[in-house]
Structure formats: C-alpha cells, structure tokens
C-alpha cells in the first residue's frame, strides 16, 4: 500500500458507490484475467443512446476497484460516443493520478467498457 495512492483513489476503493450488477443490463463487458490479478465487469443501462446507469463487479487491487468506480461515475449521463472516448489517462487523472505501476488498472476499465459497447452494438 506504500505505492502512494492518492486520497481520491483510497476513498473510492473504500466506499465504492457504483459496485453492483444491473439486472437486464443493455450492455455488459469484461476485461482482465484472474492470473494477472484483475478482472473487471461493467454493466450498462442505455436509453436513447445515453448511459443512464453504470455498475461494476471487480476482482482486483485497490487501483482496480477505484478505477472501476471512477469509470462508472464518469459514464453516467454520457452518450455512447462520448463514453468511447474515455481513456485510461482520463480515469487516472480523475483519481488524482494512479501510481505508474498501477496505470494499467485504469486501462483495464476502458477495455471492459469497450467490450460492453461492442456487445451493445451487435444487438
């Protein structure tokens, strides 16, 4: 824990507001691999091309849980196109910058999102 997480990261990790599942979600996406230490699943409720609700389930470290929570907050209210533009860097910035060795956790969030939106398009 001494890799200097920001206060925002620790707060999000300790009290994630967006953890959970959405029943009958319009889009579900997954990224990661348990052997690497992180698996992230995002659930989206989409109405008229706008993300109304976003939730996550994450197996992972402090940075992975905080990134998942941050991502969900960023997603709510965004159009699908706007959501696609979110980068790992954006998430990390919102979290007050993840330690460099943990940057990939925020990228994982965008990968799960991309997976969700790709699945959404197919339907």
């Amino acid at each position: 824990m001494d890799k200097e997480y920001s206060e925002e990261t620790i707060d999000r990790f300790q009290d994630p507001e967006y953890s959970g599942e959405i029943e009958n979600a319009d889009a579900v996406g997954k990224a990661g691999n348990p052997s690497c230490g992180d698996v992230l699943k995002v659930f989206l409720k989409i109405e008229d091309n706008v993300i109304k609700k976003a939730r996550f389930k994450t197996y992972g470290c402090i940075a992975a849980i905080a990134s998942s929570d941050e991502l969900c907050e960023m997603l709510e209210g965004k159009t699908v196109e706007e959501a696609r533009k979110i980068t790992g860097k954006d998430i990390s910035q919102e979290l007050g910058e993840l330690p460099p060795v943990k940057y990939h956790c925020s990228v994982l969030g965008t990968e799960a999102l991309k997976d969700a939106l790709d699945n959404y398009k197919k339907e």
Binding site: G37, D38, Y59, A64, I65
Partner: protein, 387 residues
C-alpha cells in the same frame, strides 16, 4: 477510524522492546565513542560491543569470535553468499539454494549466476519443505555452498536444518552450510553446534530490537571473503564504524526474547492456531504452509478464493488491522510471490493470499476483533467480485 489498532505484520518488522530502547539511549549522547578508537570513550563503546557479541553468541550456542555485526539480514545474506563464493571459487563454482528464499539470498544468487557461478534452486513440497533427495542428487564436491532459509518468511515452514546440513557435509567435502534465520531466531530452536551450521544470518528488528543492525554467525575456520571494504572493522570481515547503540539494543532484545522464548512461543502458537482454525471456517479458504510445530509460531498465511490480496489488506487497514499480502498487485514488479508459486499455487491463488504475522505483544482481545471483522470484509469483496 476503528475501535482497535491491531498490528499483525511482525514478519515485516516489530516494535522495539522498551528495555532494548532504554539500553540504547546512553550510546547516543554519553557513550558515543567509536569502538575502534583507543581512548576511554572508544574503549567504553568497544566494551559494549564485546558484551553484546557474547550475549548474541550465547543465544546461538556459538563463540563470541564467530559473530560479525552487520546492518541487517540483507547484508548478512549478501556477505554469506558472495563472501563464500568468491573465497572458494577455486574449489568449485556451484551453489545450491531453494526456490523459497528471501530475496536477499535469491537475488544474491542470481547475481552470482551472472558472475559465472552455477546455481541450483531446490524444489519444495506443497507445505514448503525442501526436497532432500534432490539435494543429495545435486550436491557434488564442486558445490561450495548450500543456503537454505530456516523459517520461511511467507508461509512459516521451518526446515530441518540438522538433516539438511548433515546431507551437505556428507555429500560434499567443500560445501559450507548457510541458513537465513531472520524469521526463526528466538522463535524456534536455533543452535549452531547441534544443527551443524557454518553460517547463519540473524537480525534485530524482527526480534523487537532496533532496525539497521544484524549479525552473521561464521563458524571458526570458515574461508570467507569480506564484502564491504574499508577501515578493517570486525577483523577485516566487515568494515564500517559499528552501530554501537543498534548493537546494544539488538543484544538486549536478543537476551530478552531468548530467555522468554518458550513462553513467547507458547503464547503466539495458541493465538496462531485459534486464528487458523477460525479463519478456515470461512468458505473457500486454504492454509498455506504446514500446521503444528513445523510452522513458525507467529505465521499465518491464508488464501481467500476470489479476493485479491491487496484489496483485502486495504479493507483490513481501514478496520485498523495491519497485515500483508503476497499478491502481484502489492509488489513493485507485479509478480505474485515466488514462495506461493513454488508450493504449487496458481497465480490467481497466489494473488489471493493474506499473511498475518504475530508477536508476543498480540492479545486474545485483538485476535477476537480480527475474527469478528474479517468475515465481513471477505464477504464484501466477494460480493464485489465478478468471478
């Protein structure tokens, strides 16, 4: 924040005994002479060093002249491996160690490999015990050193040093036997004569002494090259002005914890076994390392399926419970613990482990608090997990 603060990371470092702290104090502002100086101030410091050396030697059943003070376990291990390797390379360039060593040994061995030495890393079984048959097969007269950790820092396995050093000395005429005893010192039997050890690394801050000081036992007659050069302190074996206050604190802690060894072991063992028994009642948990007397009395290492170790210790931290993890996410190189993978855990399992290390200062009340909070934290993280 939380009702209680419970420090359960004594495998990382311990609280300094107040008796040790008190003994150290005069050596900062009153008896601050350099033990290498010939004047009265120096003599006084030198006397304190000698007395400390005798105390430490007694706890190991060694002779005072066989103790070299260092800056800690890492330096002791580096001196043992590199010092033996370079002094004895004409006899052979083969060194045997294990896959579950502390990085101080493992990375010294890797470095020696780059310098042209051949290193064999012995396998261990699922409880972490060294494969003795493999040692017999691999050792030859080319082997100059066998280095095996005594009590494992992660999973608590205590190796049978007597048998391992016997095999070493029987099967190679040139091999010295070294053990890293930093975790086991004063927590289980360590006797250089009975166990027939040539070198043993110990340190102070794991046994309630100050940080920054340790020792290497070097059996009389052992051919070893110094690793730190300079003014010729410690009979040329380890140059550098001695850390008098540190050495004095180390010796006091060693004496205190050696004299109360049986009592401390009994207390820690009973808390350890209660924790193990109760935690294993949580579903999908598994103990790493052996049970009973072949496990360090203060070590608990448990795998919680579907939970990542850093997140687990992060939530426990919030409850005032301070433990550590072997997960990849908690390490700087993002690799899971080499010890956990050596005993056969998958990477995912290794990422899901929590290490709790007790000290003589832990109480029943603290352990009950941990047992009250832990199941909720585990449930919360499992609810959050997509696995």
């Amino acid at each position: 924040m939380s009702e209680l603060e419970v420090y359960l990371d004594n495998g990382s470092t311990t609280k300094t005994d107040s008796e040790a702290f008190e003994k150290m104090k005069p050596y900062f502002t009153e008896k601050y002479g350099n033990p290498a100086s010939l004047h009265k101030e120096g003599k006084e410091a030198k006397k304190a060093i000698n007395k400390s050396k005798r105390i430490i030697a007694d706890t190991l059943n060694a002779d005072k002249k066989e103790i070299i003070f260092t800056s800690g376990g890492t330096e002791s291990d580096n001196l043992a491996l590199k010092g033996i390797a370079f002094e004895n390379k004409e006899k052979g360039k083969h060194i045997i160690t294990t896959k579950i060593e502390h990085d101080a040994v493992l990375k010294s061995a890797k470095w020696l490999e780059e310098q042209g030495f051949k290193i064999t890393y012995l396998d261990v079984d699922e409880e972490g015990f060294v494969d003795q048959e493999q040692l017999k097969r691999e050792i030859t007269d080319e082997t100059i050193l066998v280095s095996i950790i005594h009590g494992n820092n992660e999973i608590g396995t205590i190796q049978n040093l007597k048998e391992l050093s016997e095999i070493t000395h029987e099967h190679s005429k040139n091999a010295y036997f070294h053990t890293d005893a930093c975790q086991s010192y004063t927590k289980t039997n360590l006797d250089v004569k009975e166990q027939n050890l040539d070198l043993a690394s110990i340190n102070s801050h794991k046994i309630h002494g100050p940080k920054g000081v340790g020792a290497l036992y070097i059996k009389k007659g052992t051919e070893i090259h110094p690793w730190q050069h300079g003014g010729g302190h410690e009979k040329g074996m380890r140059s550098g002005t001695l850390n008098t206050h540190g050495v004095v604190g180390f010796a006091e802690a060693a004496k205190n914890n050696y004299e109360n060894k049986e009592k401390n072991i009994e207390k820690m063992t009973s808390l350890r076994d209660k924790l193990i028994e109760e935690i294993l009642k949580i579903e999908k948990t598994k103990l790493n390392g052996p049970k009973g007397s072949k496990r360090l009395p203060n070590n608990i290492n448990i795998c919680f399926n579907n939970i990542e170790g850093e997140a687990l210790s992060g939530y426990l931290n919030r409850k005032g419970i301070y433990a550590s993890t072997g997960s990849a996410c908690s390490s700087l190189d993002l690799e899971p613990s080499h010890v956990l993978t050596a005993i056969g855990l998958t990477k995912q399992e290794a990422n899901s482990c929590l290490r709790i290390t007790l000290s003589k200062y832990n109480t029943k009340e603290e352990i009950n608090y941990v047992l009250k909070e832990l199941p909720d934290v585990v449930k919360r993280l499992r609810d959050m997990s997509p696995l």
